[in-house]
């Protein structure tokens, strides 16, 4: 039964389907697709939000790559953040997941407990709390003073040498969702394989490296991709805690984008930055996908070639 387009139009089921998803479609077109393509147009303009955009061709992009030291700085800061925070968080999440996967009493309660920071991590309140913890008179410095008698007179959040580090730690601390996915992945690994290796006398480290890791690699791959994409979009932590400062040490890409768009009123430039970010993240993700054939192990091999 082949359908022509006319039959497609006559089919009432189709109308019903579209009617049901109509609100969503409306949202997609009005709030997603339209702004996305409008921002593509804006990226070729000089637009100050309040007056009509002026077409300037590739000027924004040219300035970005040739004449904007703060842009370069923001790229460096963001790359450093992603390069350190994402792998660290994955390792941390995997380690905790492996621990929780062991048959210990209260593992369920612990699991919820460890997931808690992630539930709250995105919220402004926790970011503010982070500021309290690692501020000049924060809990951490007080702790060091009262327990070890070490007097620390820097604010970890606002000192130029530690600001980025404290934001990375905040990101690593929010390992919960990656941990949950790892945990689900670990539960999928057949116990028989591990038992067989155990019988053969393989050590725990060896079993982890040769059985768990390869079988878990699709999950690692997924978490890595999500982590990279999320990492490049980091905004609220920096915006609330440091505002990009001190002197641009935590000027994440998106913070600079925001500054340009809403504070300096270079919305065209901000849009151009957004598209550069999109392209960069797409290329990076594509590279990770490419590399996956080298290290990601799928059980059903033959069909993988992509």
């Amino acid at each position: 039964m082949k359908r022509t387009s006319k039959q497609w139009l006559r089919n009432p089921d189709m109308y019903a389907g579209y009617a049901f998803i109509f609100p969503w479609l409306l949202g997609l077109f009005v709030f997603s697709l339209f702004p996305i393509f409008f921002s593509l147009y804006l990226s070729f303009t000089d637009y100050d939000i309040l007056s009509a955009p002026q077409w300037i061709g590739f000027e924004n992009f040219k300035e970005m790559f040739t004449d904007d030291p703060r842009f370069v700085k923001s790229v460096k800061v963001t790359l450093l953040y992603v390069a350190v925070a994402v792998p660290l968080r994955l390792c941390f999440a995997l380690a905790i997941a492996a621990l929780l996967n062991m048959k210990i009493k209260g593992a369920r309660a612990l699991r919820s407990l460890y997931y808690l920071p992630t539930l709250m991590g995105g919220s402004v309140a926790v970011i503010v709390m982070w500021g309290q913890l690692f501020g000049l008179n924060g809990a951490f410095n007080s702790f060091m003073r009262s327990i070890f008698g070490i007097e620390i007179s820097i604010s970890w959040i606002t000192d130029p040498s530690t600001a980025l580090g404290s934001l990375i730690v905040l990101s690593v601390w929010q390992f919960g969702s990656a941990m949950l996915i790892f945990l689900a992945g670990l539960k999928q690994i057949p116990a028989s394989l591990l038992e067989a290796a155990l019988v053969d006398g393989a050590s725990a480290a060896y079993r982890f490296r040769r059985i768990t890791l390869p079988l878990l690699s699709p999950v690692i791959f997924f978490n890595l991709v999500m982590g990279i994409i999320g990492g490049f979009k980091v905004f609220s932590e920096g915006m609330i805690l440091t505002g990009g400062g001190p002197h641009d040490q935590t000027l994440f890409y998106v913070i600079y984008l925001y500054e340009n768009s809403f504070r300096f009123l270079h919305m065209g430039y901000g849009s151009a930055m957004a598209w550069v970010l999109l392209l960069a993240v797409s290329i990076l993700t594509a590279l990770v996908f490419r590399s996956s054939s080298l290290w990601v192990h799928y059980e059903s091999k033959g069909e993988r070639e992509a």
Binding site: A16, P23, L26, S155, T158
Partner: protein
């Protein structure tokens, strides 16, 4: 059969919902369009409607502390009691977020009817058509500016039209703690002239005698005063570059700050970096003898005195008095998309000229300048306000007129200044290098 019927009615229902949603959207559009046209045509129409019909106006204002919110809300309550048909919806934001918010609202043609505009922004907003001229409301006395020295109101004019009504007069002030100075045996800064050398010496004495910090680091607003003391300005007249040629000014300003920092006369940058709100500052906390952190005579004096629970001293910044200036604390403007400009004007009138409102405000948003209002509230001035008044008189007698409002690129220049100052204070950059970089970055932003 039945199920098909059911299905169709479900579809119809959904379509109906969808259409209503669309319909809603359309009405909104229509009303914003209407609002855009309002300023030109509607003043006469709204005049008749204003007295009886219930109207809600939105008011947006800047607030950094609960005291500000309370001070504002009290006036709103008085206003609503006086004009029972007008309801006021207030919205506020803090710090730089306020400007961000205004711009986002402006972009979506959703500005509040009454907008509180800072001096630095008014030209920018007017050039973008966000505000409507208020001259007709002044002419028909909805906003009564009669008997006021034009000096106080002309600051709200752009191209000879009035766009903002000055809420009250304000001036930057160097606070000092008289008790601490006395304890250290330091003379209070002389009104007749306080030199930088004396300031530095006094900070040193305070530290030696009391073991506390003298002051906080100075930033952009103090730098602008410093430039004015040297007959220079931050921006040139065309506002496409810096207004001074000699980078030595920048270098000397920061070398002084750096020297004070190295002698540990200023609070450490680590402490200052955590100042989020007015109350967090070392001075309001009682940790320093001088408070030169860019405080304003208006609201800040009340907040500081309340928190310290003592009388504080008001001084001009060190250096020649001509650096000082009087600035309107904020303007009230009416957005061009306002549907109720008449009521908005009534609100502004009440805020500016009503005696009860002025009593309730007690100079919180800057000092009243209308002689009638002054006469009405004078007897009830708190001691704080009496000191503010004396200080403003001092500024008026020694200072010079305020510089023109910053250009649109001003926020970029400020960001650059802040970053460079931070690098200098963390000793990653020398003042001389900073001066060069600031010139380069500022000029680039201003030329755009």
């Amino acid at each position: 059969m039945r199920s098909i019927k059911k299905r169709y009615s479900a579809i119809l229902l959904l379509l109906a919902i969808g259409l209503t949603a669309c319909g809603g959207g359309n009405t909104n559009n229509a009303s914003t369009n209407e609002a855009n046209n309002t300023p030109k045509t509607s003043a006469s129409e709204t005049k008749e409607a204003s007295s009886t019909e219930p109207v809600t106006i939105r008011v947006s204002y800047w607030a950094g502390t609960q005291l500000t919110i309370d001070a504002h809300d009290n006036v709103v309550k008085l206003f609503e009691a006086a004009y029972p048909n007008i309801k006021v919806q207030s919205e506020y934001a803090t710090g730089a977020d306020y400007t961000d918010k205004i711009l986002v609202q402006a972009a979506s043609k959703d500005l509040a009817d009454v907008v509180r505009v800072d001096y630095s922004q008014i030209k920018n907003y007017v050039s973008k058509g966000l505000l409507q001229p208020l001259d007709e409301y002044v002419a028909d006395k909805t906003i009564d500016l009669e008997g006021i020295n034009p000096l106080h109101t002309d600051v709200g004019k752009v191209d000879d039209k009035l766009y903002g009504v000055n809420i009250g007069n304000n001036a930057l002030v160097l606070f000092y703690d008289p008790d601490k100075l006395k304890e250290a045996g330091v003379e209070a800064p002389a009104a007749s002239g306080y030199t930088w050398e004396q300031y530095e010496q006094d900070l040193q004495t305070v530290k030696d005698k009391l073991g506390i910090y003298g002051d906080t680091h100075f930033g952009q607003s103090q730098y602008e005063i410093w430039l004015r003391q040297h007959d220079a300005k931050l921006y040139n007249d065309a506002q496409d570059g810096l207004g001074y040629e000699d980078d030595g000014l920048f270098t000397e300003f920061f070398e002084t700050q750096l020297r004070l920092q190295k002698k540990e006369l200023l609070t450490p940058v680590a402490v200052e970096s955590e100042i989020k709100a007015l109350e967090d500052g070392p001075f309001p906390k009682g940790n320093s003898a001088y408070g030169g952190w860019g405080y304003w005579s208006g609201s800040h004096s009340a907040v500081v005195e309340k928190q310290l629970n003592k009388v504080v001293g008001f001084s001009l910044f060190p250096g020649p008095g001509k650096g000082a200036y009087i600035k309107p604390s904020f303007f009230h403007g009416i957005s061009s998309n306002s549907k109720h400009p008449k009521e908005a004007a009534q609100f502004i009138e009440f805020y500016t000229n009503n005696i009860e409102a002025a009593k309730s405000l007690d100079g919180y948003f800057g000092f009243p300048y209308n002689p009638k209002v002054l006469a009405g509230v004078e007897s009830e001035f708190t001691d704080t306000q009496k000191r503010v008044r004396a200080y403003l008189d001092l500024v008026e007698s020694q200072g010079s007129p305020i510089d023109p409002p910053a250009p649109a690129a001003g926020s970029e220049v400020s960001t650059s200044f802040k970053n460079i100052a931070s690098e200098i204070f963390y000793e990653k950059l020398t003042p001389a290098e900073g001066a060069k970089r600031f010139r380069q970055e500022a000029n680039k932003a201003l030329k755009k």
